[in-house]
């Protein structure tokens, strides 16, 4: 194994920028507001006279005053101090599917920048066509679901929408008071537990068997009852293990009268391989900013497409995009709809990018993306398991899109766990790894996801970085513990973050608290 590849020399940009609130000087201007024509100001007079006296702002807000080039320079510097996917081998952020977002799609998105969502239907036929076809033609074929909604601004909001549909379904059936439980698994995304809780359900979380990495069918059978409203589950889970009994699970839920929602936030390695409908699900959702190549945007804006079987279509949020054979419409007249989850009809630019990506790929391309992602994952496994201190929990040999590895052994041997290692790998110019949501069922976890974007050489390099950090842990643990050394900043003091006397979410709060602590 060539894990001793030569690592490149790297240092993150260090600009040592002040906070913008400290910058500029009084009187500087960043931009000039469009002028008010003389005739207008003469006709209407002062703006102030239109504001009730009590509602007038008395003091100018203490925003910074900077000239335009300096605002630009500041934010360019901050951008440089952000390790975007496009400038590094970003396969470490697993469960996130950090795939390439084609640049041409950004060109397309510019064309809809100045469209208002309430424009007359006749003037947004192009947008409605994209939304309709992406659901009906692409996602229906991929998932087997009949209708899609693009309202949700992220995977969690999609999960919430699904929970609201489960709620509405039982409400209409007069069973909501009785059916107050949603079942999920600990390796499903936390939104599959948090959003049904906000929707009003009690949540039952199933934990995995030590051998299989999955909760047993018996555990599920013990959890279901007349109180079961539904199942919200990821598959493959964060471990990369595909639950081979998933159709048995959905059957068990259906037998007690519940609905099944499939969290397919990252479905990247099973596109064209297996369908939500065939596993017995009533609903599923795809995160278009993951599987369908829309950029992650530093954490949104995103879009999660929620698909439902036709029996549940009447519950979808309004409006639904429909087609009458010649024209597209926004259908608000749906009496059984759950109503609104998000204003208007979703983050349309994200849908547009996803449509363009899927059009570029086609059926074979999507399957190729899935297969290569899966092969990449299995290849990277060979590389990573050759590194001292890295283990793969659970006795399931083959994993689909990602693997939740553990550095427990490394920690036992050297004292270096994932948090220290994560501050060190960035010294070699790759993004920090995704560890795990809490609780850490897998100790010292990390979850790389080498999707189809990454080449064999990328994976070899990434493995070489981890290998180097492992070697350092065994030979010179201090350098790992005190990391980062080549990053934008030194190791931070985390204590103030949870201390009400010191935390500061705004500059104004920071100034007040600093002053107070100086006095005492």
């Amino acid at each position: 194994m060539k894990t001793n590849l030569k690592l490149r020399r790297y240092h993150a940009p260090v600009w040592n920028e002040p906070v913008i609130m400290e910058m500029g000087r009084r009187g500087e201007r960043g931009i000039i507001v469009p002028e008010v024509e003389k005739e207008i100001s003469e006709a209407v007079g002062d703006a102030e006279s239109y504001i009730p006296a009590k509602m007038r702002r008395k003091q100018l807000p203490e925003l910074p005053e900077l000239a335009q080039p300096h605002v630009l320079r500041h934010y360019l510097r901050l951008s440089q101090q952000t390790l975007g996917m496009e400038i590094n081998i970003d396969l470490g952020e697993g469960t996130c599917t950090m795939k390439y977002s084609p640049k041409v799609n950004e060109e397309l998105v510019k064309q809809i920048a100045e469209i208002h969502p309430l424009q007359d239907e006749d003037t947004i036929q192009g947008i409605l066509e994209v939304v309709y076809k992406f659901g009906k033609v692409f996602l229906s074929e991929i998932s087997g679901m009949d209708e899609f909604s693009f309202h949700a601004g992220g995977g969690s909001e999609s999960a919430f929408t699904g929970a609201c549909i489960i709620r509405k379904y039982h409400e209409i059936n007069g069973e909501l008071a009785q059916r107050n439980e949603v079942i999920t698994t600990i390796f499903s995304h936390p939104c599959d537990a948090a959003t049904p809780a906000t929707a009003g359900f009690n949540v039952i979380t199933l934990y995995p068997d030590k051998e299989t990495g999955l909760p047993s069918v018996e555990a599920l059978k013990a959890a279901v009852s007349k109180h079961t409203a539904g199942l919200m589950i990821t598959n493959p889970e964060d471990t990369g293990i595909f639950n081979p009994e998933i159709d048995e699970w959905t059957k068990i839920i259906h037998e007690v009268g519940g609905l099944c929602l499939y969290d397919q936030a990252n479905a990247n390695a099973i596109l064209g391989i297996t369908k939500a409908k065939d596993a017995g699900f009533d609903m599923c959702f795809f995160n278009l900013h993951k599987t369908f190549a829309s950029p992650h945007g530093s954490d949104g804006p995103a879009c999660s497409a929620l698909g439902v079987k036709k029996e549940l279509a009447r519950f979808l949020p309004v409006p639904v995009v429909t087609f009458d054979g010649s024209k597209y419409h926004l259908d608000y007249n749906r009496p059984y709809s759950i109503g609104k989850i998000k204003d208007f009809y979703g983050n349309v630019p994200v849908v547009l990018r996803a449509y363009a990506w899927a059009m570029s790929m086609g059926a074979e391309g999507l399957r190729e993306a899935a297969e290569v992602s899966m092969i990449n994952n299995n290849y990277l496994e060979k590389r990573l398991l050759a590194i001292s201190g890295v283990t793969k929990p659970y006795k399931v040999e083959k994993r689909v899109d990602q693997i939740r590895y553990s550095l427990e052994k490394l920690k036992e041997d050297t004292g270096i766990g994932i948090q220290d290692a994560n501050r060190r790998i960035i010294d070699y110019g790759i993004q920090s790894v995704w560890t795990s949501h809490h609780p850490w069922v897998v100790p010292e976890p990390f979850t790389p996801e080498p999707c189809e974007t990454y080449s064999k050489a990328d994976m070899d390099y990434w493995a070489a970085v981890l290998s180097r950090v492992s070697k350092e842990a065994y030979t010179n643990p201090e350098i790992v513990k005190t990391a980062p050394h080549n990053s934008t900043i030194a190791k931070m003091n985390e204590a103030p973050l949870d201390d009400p006397k010191k935390w500061a979410m705004t500059w104004r709060a920071y100034l007040k608290k600093r002053k107070r602590s100086k006095k005492t």
Binding site: V19, P34, A43, M55, R56, G200, E364, I489, W507
Partner: protein, 477 residues
């Protein structure tokens, strides 16, 4: 659309897509050899039972792997749209057309910000500093010490804020104005759960004064009690009305040990009083006006600000980025405050949930506020007031047209009862003049008659406004 599996044009072995380096057959072979498998099928067969695996290729349109072909194809579809650059737009109602400074676009199109996601505080230092700066500048606008990283939109921020109030007070009833965007109210109701659920929050509507459109304080007093968790109101309201009784409303809320929640339009806050000044405990609202294009509704983001007290911070659902220091003298760092609150840690026991939100727009809004500065934000408020009132005056001169509420910011109700046309018909006719008329609110508020909600911002010139007035004059005849 031509449905075919694409196998006519490219056989599987030769498919080398520019987005997939490892689709080169030789490299795939090398990797498979190392894995110890013949092909992908063999591996999948060890993961997914045969009964669940697809036996056929999906039926999708013929792909366009050529970037040029793709651009032509999508461009042709998008050409069917008309935009607010081609038409004169007076629609607002939750998404507003403002000028987006070129620097905002330049920054949010930076590859680093566009494609980052969830890297940690060191490797993604820049985006965390930008979030902190957003929080800091928004804090100045609303007058509060705590602001979080925004969620999906105003509706979600209002839903979150109301649930925060319910947890802070341990009470399950909230008062909301009758003048509210019905879709926002629907979002709020979804957050508050149906009656049959034990943690349902009862949403009660408070009437408005029909003369001025502001909250009816008598009705508020009759509906509020010690059972009330919070009073939510907006400034400016859904219909653009400036709520002048903020102080009284907050006082009534506080007398009943309820939280005062204000939904605020941040672009008004250079001229309107910061909500904290009239007693707000939680402030939420929409950031889209701050340097973000409308994107057909894809430019939204909802902020939540609150008091810097443990009982509020502890109930905030979002990412809260705090400033701190590093081991190097004089160096700032940024990290997550009380991350154990969030669903990433506490799952179903969390303070609602946090997920992929609207970070890129958070950065755009930060750039916008930095560009505007104190004088810019004041001037844009004044400009919007002058232009929107000028428009209202011109429209009110048209026979049969009335402006029922006179104290407004940016948006105003236009009533057409004195004409024999419905808003629907008027708007259809305005399209022929290449104008998008105001949103039809006749069904939302039947008591306001045949009314539309018009929006005039800094982007409208005198000429634009006069064009609207003369087109309307012709249309309502």
């Amino acid at each position: 659309m031509n449905l075919s599996n694409g196998s006519v044009t490219m056989s599987k072995r030769q498919f080398i897509h520019p987005y997939i380096p490892n689709s080169v057959p030789e490299v795939k072979e090398e990797m498979l050899k190392e894995i110890g498998a013949k092909n992908a099928e063999e591996l999948y067969s060890k993961m997914i039972p045969k009964r669940l695996r697809l036996k056929t290729t999906m039926k999708l349109p013929k792909p366009l792997p050529s970037e040029y072909d793709l651009k032509r194809h999508v461009g042709k579809i998008l050409a069917k749209n008309q935009t607010c650059q081609e038409y004169l737009n007076f629609l607002g109602a939750g998404c507003w057309q403002h000028y987006v400074p070129a620097v905002c676009d330049e920054i949010v199109r930076r590859s680093e910000f566009l494609t980052a996601y969830s890297g940690e505080f060191y490797s993604d230092f820049g985006r965390y500093q930008a979030f902190f700066e957003f929080q800091s500048m928004m804090g100045e606008l609303v007058g509060m010490d705590v602001v979080g990283v925004p969620t999906y939109d105003w509706g979600a921020s209002a839903g979150n804020a109301i649930r925060m109030a319910s947890r802070v007070t341990n009470k399950k009833e909230v008062l909301v104005p009758k003048i509210i965007n019905p879709y926002r109210l629907s979002i709020i109701r979804n957050f508050c759960q149906p009656k049959v659920m034990p943690n349902h929050i009862d949403v009660k509507l408070v009437n408005y004064d029909p003369e001025v459109g502001m909250l009816d304080l008598e009705d508020l007093k009759s509906k509020i009690s010690l059972k009330t968790a919070g009073v939510y109101f907006e400034n400016p309201s859904y219909l653009g009305i400036i709520e002048a009784q903020g102080e009284e409303i907050s006082k009534i809320a506080h007398e009943n040990k309820a939280v005062s929640i204000v939904g605020a339009g941040p672009i008004s806050l250079g001229v309107l009083a910061p909500p904290a000044e009239y007693g707000a405990d939680i402030v939420c609202g929409e950031i889209q006006p701050l340097g973000i294009h409308m994107y057909c509704g894809g430019g939204l983001g909802g902020f939540i600000a609150c008091r810097d007290e443990e009982k509020y911070v502890g109930e905030h659902p979002s990412h809260l980025i705090s400033i701190t220091a590093t081991e190097r003298e004089g160096e700032y760092a940024f990290g997550e405050c009380r991350f154990d609150r969030t669903s990433y840690v506490a799952r179903d026991k969390a303070k609602d949930w946090v997920g992929t939100g609207t970070a890129l727009w958070t950065i755009a809004a930060a750039v916008y506020m930095a560009l505007m500065g104190p004088h810019g934000i004041k001037e844009i408020g004044e400009t919007i007031i002058q232009k929107s009132h000028y428009a209202a005056e011109l429209l009110s001169e048209i026979e049969g047209v009335k402006i029922p509420f006179s104290s407004f910011f940016k948006e105003f109700v236009v009533n057409f009862d004195g004409t024999n046309k419905t808003v629907y018909k008027i708007n259809k006719a305005l399209l022929k003049h290449r104008i998008f008329g105001g949103k039809d609110i006749a069904k939302e508020f039947p008591e306001l008659g045949k009314s539309a909600l018009y929006c005039v911002t800094e982007i409208h010139t005198k000429e634009d406004i006069e064009k609207l007035a003369s087109a309307l004059k012709e249309v309502v005849k």
